[in-house]
């Protein structure tokens, strides 16, 4: 897969150790590099953002983006881990990928993650709820691996 090798070569200083499993490349990215990685995957490689998954693990709150490279059927999955559970925040990729707008809003209200630079940082699913009754931290998954 030349795209993957090119990506790993160009981004070797920006990403952590990667796991390649059956065409799915999982790797960790620091918050300060996520915009650059997303820009490369979306604009240079032509990947499509399938969605993003937020979860709580031992190390902190984790946001895992799923970029699909439709031409080859491969997946690039950058993972950002926020260790400050009480104030998790990371850069929003919505200004690069318009399609990330809804899922980032959803993660913000379900998991309490603040997406810095989001073009429309308002609730997606709990807009009509009385103020202060959003979901967020109390609804995080209790079980951790």
């Amino acid at each position: 897969m030349p795209e993957k090798e090119e990506f790993l070569k160009l981004m070797k200083d920006k990403i952590g150790p990667s796991i390649d499993k059956k065409g799915r490349l999982y790797f960790e990215v620091l918050n300060e590099h996520i915009l650059e990685v997303a820009d490369y995957l979306f604009k240079k490689l032509g990947c499509r953002l399938s969605t993003a998954t937020c979860m709580e693990m031992y190390r902190g709150i984790e946001v895992l983006y799923h970029f699909s490279h439709d031409a080859t059927g491969q997946y690039f999955c950058p993972r950002v881990v926020m260790t400050d559970r009480n104030n998790p925040q990371m850069n929003s990729i919505s200004n690069i990928v318009t399609g990330a707008e809804w899922i980032e809003r959803e993660m913000a209200e379900y998991w309490g993650v603040k997406f810095i630079g989001h073009p429309r940082p308002e609730p997606l699913l709990t807009k009509e709820h009385p103020k202060g009754e959003g979901l967020g931290q109390p609804f995080r998954i209790r079980r951790m691996s």
Binding site: R24, R48, M55, D70, C77, V97, L125, I141, S145
Partner: protein, 396 residues
């Protein structure tokens, strides 16, 4: 500037699920649209994390009543991806057969509703009439007309009886013949072409920016089809074409779905031929799922269904993320609805195939002179078709 706001929803005949669109119109032109979701909290992801992997399959089957096998297929793909589980070849063909039959009945359902919205009630009746035999095929195969309960991690739950394959092929032949008839009629109809051509265009760039999937993206010239990109199950073993059109308007979305239905009948025929001449296991015995994470996806009738599962080695997922195709297709309204006449709004919203229900509610707006009048989007849409019909064929 004389701007009015037309609310559509949260409960509206256009929408099977409760969603809320706010159309801002200037005269008869839509100048902006705002989308508001979150009217139903079903909690599937959290519930799934409290179920076993097998129970989760039944749970996700109930996310959608129309494409009720797409979520289970994506779900079992994700679990199988965690532990690199292979499935028997016969099970792969059965999964593909079920998935393609679902595509046929879903596209026919959409076609009928689209016909109704623009005043082609004959298309509505025909499409739904010929959808019925497809549901009969499901009943023959699985015992159920909907929610088939066929998927299992490692294969499928029920075999297709080779003795009943000729009966299934006969029904498929009839559906195929009728689909050709409807497709030819739709392509040759000048009124339909005038009514839908260049209506609600979603440009290729907008489809890419919004990460649109399925027929919504393919009608705009974007090559995205999980069946070709990552051919799971039997998709790598059957012959079919990925239909991609260029204009991105409602007409292209209609033609694309009709052509896809014909491709689906071709795939079903190949699967049935294989199933009638072979035997073998349909389910591998999977005793436990290891630690890890997996991605499962399937090309549902509306586009890519995506499931992500993370396992800690117990018998249930610790995280189960579900993304349905409408979640990424609905925001494309922002791009496709701006600048269109309000009479085209209904069919443009319907063209991405969000779910529908069968009730209708007229809504009232007040104009600047405070004269109350009823604005019914459905009638506006049908009146425009009638106007084109009269212009094409004369007053009669």
């Amino acid at each position: 500037m004389n701007r009015n706001v037309i609310p559509v929803g949260p409960f509206h005949p256009l929408l099977e699920e409760a969603e809320y669109f706010t159309l801002t119109v200037d005269g008869e032109t839509v100048v902006d649209i705002d989308l508001d979701i979150g009217w139903m909290h079903r909690g599937h992801e959290l519930i799934s994390e409290r179920k076993t992997f097998t129970q989760s399959i039944y749970l996700v089957e109930r996310i959608c009543g129309i494409c009720s096998t797409s979520h289970p297929i994506a779900c079992v793909h994700a679990v199988e991806d965690v532990d690199n589980i292979e499935i028997p070849e016969r099970a792969a063909y059965i999964r593909t057969l079920i998935g393609e039959l679902e595509r046929i009945h879903s596209h026919l359902l959409w076609l009928g509703l689209a016909g109704h919205f623009i005043g082609y009630d004959t298309v509505w009746m025909w499409a739904w009439k010929y959808r019925e035999p497809v549901l009969q095929m499901f009943e023959i195969i699985s015992g159920n007309r909907n929610h088939y309960g066929m998927m299992r991690v490692g294969g499928v739950a029920k075999d297709v009886d080779p003795a009943r394959v000729p009966e299934l092929l006969n029904i498929l032949d009839m559906v195929d013949e009728k689909m050709h008839m409807i497709a030819n009629a739709a392509k040759d109809d000048p009124v339909l072409k005038s009514r839908l051509k260049n209506v609600g265009i979603l440009s290729k760039q907008a489809a890419i920016d919004y990460c649109a999937v399925g027929p919504t993206a393919r009608a705009s010239g974007v090559h995205t089809d999980v069946r070709k990109d990552e051919p799971n199950d039997a998709y790598g073993m059957v012959d079919f074409k990925e239909i991609v059109l260029e204009n991105g308007d409602v007409y292209d979305k209609l033609v694309l779905r009709l052509l896809e239905t014909l491709e689906s009948t071709k795939i079903c025929r190949q699967c049935l031929a294989k199933l009638s001449h072979s035997n073998g296991p349909i389910l591998n015995n999977v005793k436990e799922i290891g630690v890890g994470e997996g991605i499962g996806r399937y090309e549902a009738p509306r586009g890519e269904v995506f499931h992500y599962i993370r396992s800690d080695g117990s018998n249930r997922p610790i995280r189960h993320k579900v993304r349905a195709p409408s979640y990424v297709n609905i925001p494309t309204f922002k791009a496709s609805c701006k600048g269109i006449p309000v009479a085209d709004a209904l069919i443009t919203l319907a063209a991405v195939d969000p779910c529908y229900c069968c009730t209708e509610r007229a809504l009232k707006i007040i104009d600047k002179n405070h004269d109350p009048f009823a604005l019914d989007l459905l009638n506006l849409s049908r009146q425009k078709t009638e106007k084109i019909r009269r212009e094409t064929y004369g007053a009669k």
